[in-house]
Amino acid sequence: MSSIQNRRQEYRSLFKQNVAKRLLVDKIVRIIVFSCVIIAIIPLGSILVEVFKNGITAISIEFLTETPGSVGSGEGGIGPAIQGTLIIIGLSSLIGVPIGVMSGIFLSEYGDNKLARSVRFFNDVFMEFPSIILGIFAFLIIVLVLGHFSVWAGAFALSLIMFPIVARTTEESLKMVPTTYREAGTALGLTKWIITFRIVISAAKSGMVTGILLSVSRIGGETAPLIMTILGSSQFFSSMDTPMDALPLRIWRLSLLPYDSAQLQGWGAALVLIMIILGINLGVRYYFANKKNTFFRNLIKQRKNVIK
């Protein structure tokens, strides 16, 4: 009798030890996991703080509008770089967005065959291509052929980064539109392209705009492909066939100079660039995250009902 009680006692204490150990391990893992999150957030915080702290002292009207002064003087500004970034974003969107949207339409509306599956796969792989290779490609087929650095080459290289992103987001948002919309269009006797453009795309517009803006914010910060295509310059834009400046290039050049004043200007340019890019990013996500709640949730609900 007593031996049973002893054994029970023993098991109980063993069990308690075991549970205590398991709970301890669990707690340690929780702490590790939480510190992972903290460690990842620290660089982001540090980058934002440093860019704002150092950049804000460099910013002035002259800094934003003038051409760079002589090297190391600390005079002048980044006007051509801002202008160049806006030009190159505009031009690459001009090439990249139509191709991306059409490609997305292909994937979602005609995308049930072998060709579409391989296109989808290569789109995903292409999205991860090292961007400097796209720069070399644009250099080889445009700069080398024309014999001079060209703005078009830069825009072409960036459009290559842009279109897979646009294509995939377009595909995803078009797929969200219920099939009943398309059936309704067909019942009205409309042709497929009118159905696609007038009904499907207008229903999926906000998702597509999100994708386009995110791809714009992505290419706005790209540097590597621009090195060998638009090269960088200290003058305002003059023609498509001469080198042009862009903010990421300007930051790179400034960071290589051994002067404190250049470093300060580099931070100033970084502040402008990060404002543009994080501005687009945050704006898009905030605006469409709210919109999504009403619009897309309804769409998904409808789609589910249809499936039922």
Binding site: V37, F106, A116, F129, I132, L140, L144, W193
Partner: protein, 323 residues
């Protein structure tokens, strides 16, 4: 009357056909571009393969002086592999930790945190470089590299060399930060793909949260998590600007990674550094394009493997839901 209708029908059919052809052409564009890129890189780097043969991959000297040209890609291949490997060692465990936290946290905490981590991906590479060069490098050198070097530098080759901050380790840490958003976002998707019943079953057996991850999530999502990490590797291999600004840019035999605190050079950074100065007439530019070709091949292999693993994993999820 019937004639009019017939014309209308015909017109419809033709416009639809044009639309379909246009969409298909745009879709096929990516295939054409991939083939064109491969073709261009092969044909434009042909002189260097002709001159150096396959020894281009195994040689270590790098000399662009006229008359004494000699190019070998090995140091840069090794530099890329070393920095990417260290970046993976630091970045992947961190990302999986983040994914665990976010996939398990209530959406009110998880969503903004996930968003913050993804903002890391939106910061341009060149700004990482600027921050690394003027902020991170200083602290890292004074607080981490110098003490480690003073303590172990004489005995362990890994920590020899002169800690200056422009070295393999600094570049790798920056790379690790840059791959975190990709790896953690994909890992999160993968962990979400584990059927809810599995988790519930683990809890029902009395598992703690960690045991639930160990029993239910990791065995199920192993393939996908490996895919996510390889996706991060693909990012790290191609990353250019931040690495170029922080790796110290040695060339030739000096670029072979010898210690964590020594300078090196990666494939993408040597292209960024020398491409514009290289003359298309000499063999210098073909050599750089040849390095680009090797980089492209490595990137394609890595990304294809990663996508196969990840999509396979997410397909299992769809199958599980439909059943």
């Amino acid at each position: 009357m019937s004639k009019v209708n017939l014309n209308l029908k015909k017109r419809k059919v033709i416009s639809d056909k044009i639309f379909k052809i246009g969409a298909t052409a745009a879709g096929t564009y990516v295939l054409v571009v991939v083939v064109l890129i491969a073709f261009q890189l092969v044909s434009e780097s042909y002189p260097v393969w002709e001159e150096e043969g396959l020894s281009f991959i195994t040689k270590t000297d790098w000399n662009a002086v006229e008359g004494r040209e000699s190019f070998g890609a090995l140091p840069y291949i090794l530099g890329t592999l070393t920095t990417s490997a260290i970046a993976m060692m630091i970045g992947v465990p961190l990302s999986i930790g983040i994914a665990m936290f976010i996939s398990d946290a209530p959406p009110k905490i998880g969503a903004p945190l996930g968003f913050l981590v993804e903002l890391l991906a939106a910061v341009p590479s060149v700004i990482y470089g600027l921050w690394g060069l003027f902020v991170f490098r200083i602290y890292f050198r004074d607080w981490f590299e110098t003490p480690i070097h003073d303590a172990f530098g004489d005995n362990i080759w890994l920590f020899s060399g002169n800690p200056y901050g422009l070295d393999i380790l600094t570049a790798s840490v920056i790379l690790a930060i840059m791959i975190i958003p990709t790896v953690s976002a994909v890992s999160r998707e993968i962990m979400k793909a584990v059927p809810q019943q599995q988790k519930e079953a683990a809890y029902m057996l009395g598992a703690t949260k960690w045991e639930m991850f160990k029993l239910a999530i990791f065995p199920y999502s192993k393939t996908g998590l490996i895919g996510a990490s390889i996706l991060g590797l693909g990012r790290a291999v191609g990353e250019t600007m931040a690495v170029t600004m922080l790796i110290g840019n040695a060339t030739g035999i000096g670029a072979i990674p010898s210690s964590l605190f020594g300078p090196s050079q990666t494939m993408s950074s040597i292209i960024a550094n020398e491409f514009v100065e290289a003359s298309p007439a000499s063999i210098h530019m073909p050599a750089l394009i040849g390095i680009g070709l090797i980089l492209l091949l490595i990137a394609i292999v890595i990304n294809v493997i990663a996508h196969l693993l990840v999509t396979k994993m997410l397909k299992i999820k769809e199958g599980a839901i439909n059943n």
